[in-house]
Point group: C2
Chain length 342, copies 2
Amino acid sequence: MKRKVTLKQIAKELDVSISTVSKSLRNSLEISEDTRLKVQAFAKLYNYKPNNIALSLKNKKTKTICIIIPEIIHHFFATVISGVEQVANEKGYNVLICLSDESFDKEVINMEMLASGSIDGFIISLSKETQNRKDFHHLEEVINQGMPIVMFDRIANDILCDKVIIDDQQAALNATQFLIDKEYKKIGLLSTVDYVSVGKLRTEGYMKALANNNIPFKSNLVVKIEDMTAIEAEIDQFLVREKPDALFAVNELFAVTALKLAQKKGIKIPEELSIIGFTDGIISKFSSPTITTVSQNGVKMGAVAAQMLIERLEKEEEEEEENETYRTEVIETELIERESTL
Amino acid sequence: MKRKVTLKQIAKELDVSISTVSKSLRNSLEISEDTRLKVQAFAKLYNYKPNNIALSLKNKKTKTICIIIPEIIHHFFATVISGVEQVANEKGYNVLICLSDESFDKEVINMEMLASGSIDGFIISLSKETQNRKDFHHLEEVINQGMPIVMFDRIANDILCDKVIIDDQQAALNATQFLIDKEYKKIGLLSTVDYVSVGKLRTEGYMKALANNNIPFKSNLVVKIEDMTAIEAEIDQFLVREKPDALFAVNELFAVTALKLAQKKGIKIPEELSIIGFTDGIISKFSSPTITTVSQNGVKMGAVAAQMLIERLEKEEEEEEENETYRTEVIETELIERESTL
DNA sequence: CTGAAAGCGCTTACAG
DNA sequence: CTGAAAGCGCTTACAG
C-alpha cells in the first residue's frame, strides 16, 4: 500500500531541495528546464498531488464553502444545493453541506466546528428553532471573525450580510389575487406559525391581497400549522368546518395534504375546490391532479447565493476595505398553473 | 473586526510560551494549576478555538468524510444522506456531500480533489456514466493510497471495499411474485438500461419470478428506458401496444409516469392496472392513488455505510493490519402496499 | 540556478 | 513546572 507521496520524498529521491521541487512543480522560471522537467516527470510517475490541508494552512483559505440547510427532504433545498454546487464547482470551490435538522443546537455546533478554519464562508437558511428563539449570536460571531455569510430563504433581517430571497409577500399576494380574480368567495390559507419568517410574509401577502380587493379578512379561514404530526387532523377539521372553495398553501406539503383529504371526502378538484401551493417541487408535479404552485426557483437562489459568497471571498483578498455594503438579491417567482385550479 | 485568535497571540499576551498555552488548554497536568486556569480564562475570553486545518495537518486526519451521489433530486439519495449525517455527527465527523451529476468526469474530479488530504474517507454511489464505462481507476487509486471507501446502492463488484446494498434481485422477485399471486397475466416491467447495476439486478429478479412460476418471459413486456427525456413517449407507446394488467417499475419516477399516462387514457388504477414502484419516496406517498412500492430504507443504508467507514477509519489507527477483509452489508427491503395495487 | 530558512497553527517528546 | 525544538506539507522571500 503506497502512501501519499510528498515534496520531501521527491526531493530526497532526486537529491535536490524541497524548494526546488516545489518551484519546479509550479513551473517557476527560476529553475533550469533540465531540473524542472526531471522533477515534473518524477512527480507524475509517483502521481504526486499537493496536500490540500497544507495548502489551506499556508494560504489561510480552503476553497471550500458550506451550505447549512434545515433539512434535505424538502425538494426546495435540494434544488438550492444544485445551484450552489454548479457555481461553486465552476469556480473551483468545494461545497460542504450540513443539515441543522431544524435544530438550533445542531446549527450552532455545525457552524462553530466549521468556522474554525475548515471553510471560507457560509450559505445558510435558518432552522425553525433559530427563527423562533431569535438567537443569532453564532452568526454574528462568525461574521465578526471576518468570515462572510450569505443567507437565503429563511433569513434574519437584523443580521448584516448578503441575502438572497424571493419576495414572499408579493408572491403570496399574486397567488391570492389569482384566486380572487376567479371570484372565489371563501379563500382559505394554510400557513405555518408566524415565527417562520417566510410563513409570516406569505400570510401577510394573503391578507394584503384581500385588503386590496376590499374583502374582509376572516381569521377562521386561516390555519397556522405548528406541529407537523398534526397536519392531517388540522386540515381535515378545517375543510369540514369552513368548506372553502379555494385554498392557498404556503408549501407543497400542506397543499398536497389538503388535496388528498378533500379527495377522500369526494370533493372534486379543481371544480369544487381550487388549490395553489408554494414551491415547485416534485410533489406538485406528480400528484393527481397536478398542483398549481408558486415556483421559488431554488436552483437560481443557490446559484446567486454562491456567486455572492465567492465574489466577496475573492474581493476580500484585494482590498481589505472596511466600508462593507451588503446586498439583498430578490429572485423572481412565477405562478405555474396546473390542474388544481381552473 | 477581530480576527481569529491563535495560541501564539495568547502566549504573547500572557508572556508564556506557546507550548505552555497549548498544554494548559489541553488540561495537561504538567502545567501548574495557576497558569492553567489563567490561560484557560484568557482563551475563553478571547473565544479561542483551535484551527482545524492545523490540527488536520498535524494529526493526518480531518474528521471529515465525503459522500458522493449521482444527484440530489432523487429522494432516495436524500434519505441516504440523512442516515450518513446522523451517524457521522454522532461520532464527531463532518460530512461533505458531492454531486457527480451522473458524470464520470465530475466524479473523478471530485474524488481527486478531496483525496488530497481534505477528507478521511468516501461513501459513494456510482454515476451512470461510470457504470457504463466500467472505468474505476479513480476508486482504485484512492484505495491504493490507503483511503477507505464504502460503496452503496450502485456499486462495482470488482472493486475491493466495503459495500452496502439491498438485495435488488430478491426485492424485484418479491414484488413480481406479489403480482403473480394476484393472478395478473400480462405483467410489464419498466426498467433502465442494463449497465445501471441496480436496473439489471431488478430485471433479473423479475425474470426469475416468472421462471419460478413457469411463466414464459416475453421481451415485448419489458421497456428499458435510457433517455430520461423520452420516458413519457416510451411508456405511452408501451401501454397502448401491450395493454398490461400489471406493472413493476424499477424506480418511482417510472411508476408515477406510467400511472399518470394510464389515468389520462381512462385506465382505472388499480382496477384495470396494478402498479408497483421501487424506492419509497415522496412521489409514491403523495400521488393519487398512492403507489405500492419496494422500500429501500435509504436512511438505514446511509447509517450503515457511515458506520462501516468510521469503524475502518478508527481501526486503522490501532493496528495497521494488512489482511484487509471487506464486508458487504445487505439491507432488508419491504413491500409497502398502497392504493395502486389491489 | 539552487537551497536554507521562516512561516501557516498546532502538538508533543525532550531538556532543563 | 516551563519552554525550545521538531515536525505535519507546503510556499516564497532571500542569500548565495
